[in-house]
């Protein structure tokens, strides 16, 4: 609310607009002022097209209490002014945000997915320039974690059955952290021992899965999570030191969960072992610092489980934190290393990415798989005629342009397709950029056609990368 436009300035603007003298527009304003006030006080309502309706509302007298003295008093009846803006002006005012629409959020159960979703939604709704670089750095670890979370959750849900409901959410997430931690440890271990560990692990898994199937037959369900977590890490550390001992620990009935988790870990180890072997290099020293603490704790704190669990949670959190910082921080270093060592898979990945980008530039239309039923609209579109050329301003979004030129925000996909050569992503408009607004056949911008609307919405989701 810094600079207010007062009536004088408005009079100047009017004068220059009409090409008349300042006196003339001032005279108009004076007359307007008189007429308005007179009319308002007399008729109690004044309607001005394009502005709105001013209305005087009667507030009936009411009883109240004097706050200071506590005496009863009566507030006299009086008029108050109310203003109802013209619909036209209201939409105009809201134009910069007109393209936003309500987003349905997933239920409260998904603690981990909810925050990331909202962040993404806000990003896509308000694609500000600052959002560009930072987010990309954190995407990889988060995806990494989310994948693991879903994997671990499905495993737990499958085996624990009813007891999954009894486990509170924080416990689950801490389990996840724990598992993550142990994965890291194992990955580190495998770096040093490389192929040997993998070879040893494979027979172990077979034995363990056999045992799991046996134990599953036992109807007893564990509701006590914390000791089991302890057990898990114990298992892991046992594994690390004496790799064949897992089988010995198993036969007890209490081992239901640990077994499951170790299975999960080992499965993930196997898949990740080779991919991670390059990435995990920088964290080796840190993880080794953490490792020695766990066995000692196990020996000294056999009775007070709670203390042990708390310590382990802290260690797990620290481990994950260092893992993240190393992972994101040393990206460049790792890339350099990779480049020097010329590791084949990563190089080929980069090449593939570049190639697909090039392909996308020339292929202006996305094709849905045939079973989705969008064949009628999934036709190649060629943009030859343009109704406008637009220089991007800081307030422009593809959706606002679509709203302006085609009458509905969903049709931004056409503008994006026509400008694929200059736009890398629908959210990444730069100020000053020249955009071509293509001429679109009226059948393709028919807002009454619900199938078409669904199609362009889906197409938009694909382009945004949801």
């Amino acid at each position: 609310m810094s600079e207010k436009i007062n009536s004088k300035e408005l009079a100047k603007l009017m004068a220059s607009h009409l090409g008349v003298s300042l006196q003339a527009s001032n005279a108009f304003l004076e007359a307007f002022q008189d007429v308005f006030e007179e009319a308002l006080l007399r008729d109690k309502v004044v309607k001005i097209n394009g502005v709105g309706t001013f209305k005087l509302v009667w507030h009936a007298p009411r009883k109240s209490v004097n706050v200071r003295t506590g005496d009863e008093m009566e507030i006299a009846g009086h008029y108050k002014i109310s203003f109802l803006p013209d619909g036209d002006w209201n939409t105009k005012v809201n134009e910069p945000m007109a393209h936003l629409e309500a987003v349905e959020l997933p239920g409260e159960g998904d603690v981990i997915t909810v925050p990331t979703d909202t962040v993404e939604d806000i990003d896509s709704e308000m694609p500000l320039e600052e959002n560009g670089g930072k987010a990309d750095d954190y995407v990889l670890p988060m995806e990494h974690l989310n994948e693991q979370v879903t994997e671990v959750k499905s495993l737990l849900a499958g085996i624990m059955g009813d007891s999954a409901n009894m486990t509170s959410e924080p416990d689950e997430s801490s389990e996840v952290a724990e598992v993550q931690e142990s994965i890291e440890e194992n990955a580190v271990e495998e770096d040093s021992v490389a192929e040997e560990t993998i070879e040893i692990n494979i027979p172990q898994i077979k034995e363990v899965t056999d045992l799991v199937s046996e134990i599953q037959a036992v109807p007893e369900v564990e509701s006590n999570v914390e000791p089991n977590q302890e057990q898990t890490v114990d298992d892991v550390s046992d594994e690390l030191s004496e790799e064949s001992e897992v089988v010995e620990v198993l036969p007890e009935a209490q081992q239901e969960e640990p077994v499951v988790e170790t299975v999960a870990e080992e499965q993930m180890e196997e898949t990740e072992a080779e991919d991670d072997s390059v990435k995990e290099e920088p964290q080796v020293p840190k993880e080794q610092d953490n490792e020695p603490q766990e066995p000692t704790k196990h020996k000294t704190c056999v009775w007070p489980w709670l203390v042990g669990v708390l310590c382990l949670l802290v260690v797990a959190g620290l481990g994950y934190y260092f893992y993240n910082t190393y992972y994101t921080g040393d990206n460049n270093v790792q890339e350099n290393l990779i480049a020097e060592e010329s590791v084949e898979p990563v190089d080929s990945l980069v090449n593939v990415a570049e190639e697909t980008v090039e392909e996308v530039v020339y292929d202006s239309t996305y094709y849905f798989p045939p079973e989705t039923g969008y064949e009628a609209y999934d036709i190649p579109r060629k943009y030859t005629d343009y109704i406008a050329y637009r220089t991007v301003t800081s307030e422009d979004r593809l959706v606002t342009l679509a709203l302006q030129y085609y009458g509905h925000k969903f049709f931004w996909v056409y503008i994006y397709e026509a400008n694929r050569d200059v736009l890398s992503h629908p959210d990444k408009l730069t100020v000053g950029q020249q955009l071509k607004i293509p001429q679109i056949d009226t059948s393709l911008i028919d807002t009454g056609n619900s199938e078409l609307m669904e199609y362009v919405k889906k197409l938009g989701d694909v382009y945004v990368g949801k």
Binding site: S2, E3, V35, I48, V93
Partner: protein, 96 residues
């Protein structure tokens, strides 16, 4: 008083035709709409100011389906009368 009556009254007061008065009013509204932004309130005569208020985004829950909706932020036009006008209005008695 509706818009038509306003134009008639304006034309009478300024001694111009109704057409001219309507055109002037149109230009005034157009200019006011043009300059009004979030940072820039616009004075409306001596009666008050037009301001833009931003309604923050909010979470709403459909009581029936329990679905949670993130309602996006919105900008609305707001009129703040001057104290002079307010006191004038307050002095009016009920005359119904």
């Amino acid at each position: 008083m509706n818009n038509k009556e306003l134009v008639v009254a304006l034309a009478e007061k300024m001694a111009v035709t109704q057409k001219e008065a309507a055109a002037l009013l149109g230009v005034y509204v157009e200019e006011a709409q043009k300059v009004l932004t979030v940072e820039q309130p616009v004075a409306f005569l001596n009666a008050g100011n037009f301001e833009v208020k931003v309604r923050e985004q909010r979470l709403s829950v459909n009581p029936k389906t329990k679905k949670r909706l993130l309602v996006p932020p919105k900008m609305v036009l707001n009129f703040v009368p001057t104290t002079v006008l307010k006191s004038k209005i307050k002095q009016l008695g009920q005359d119904e």
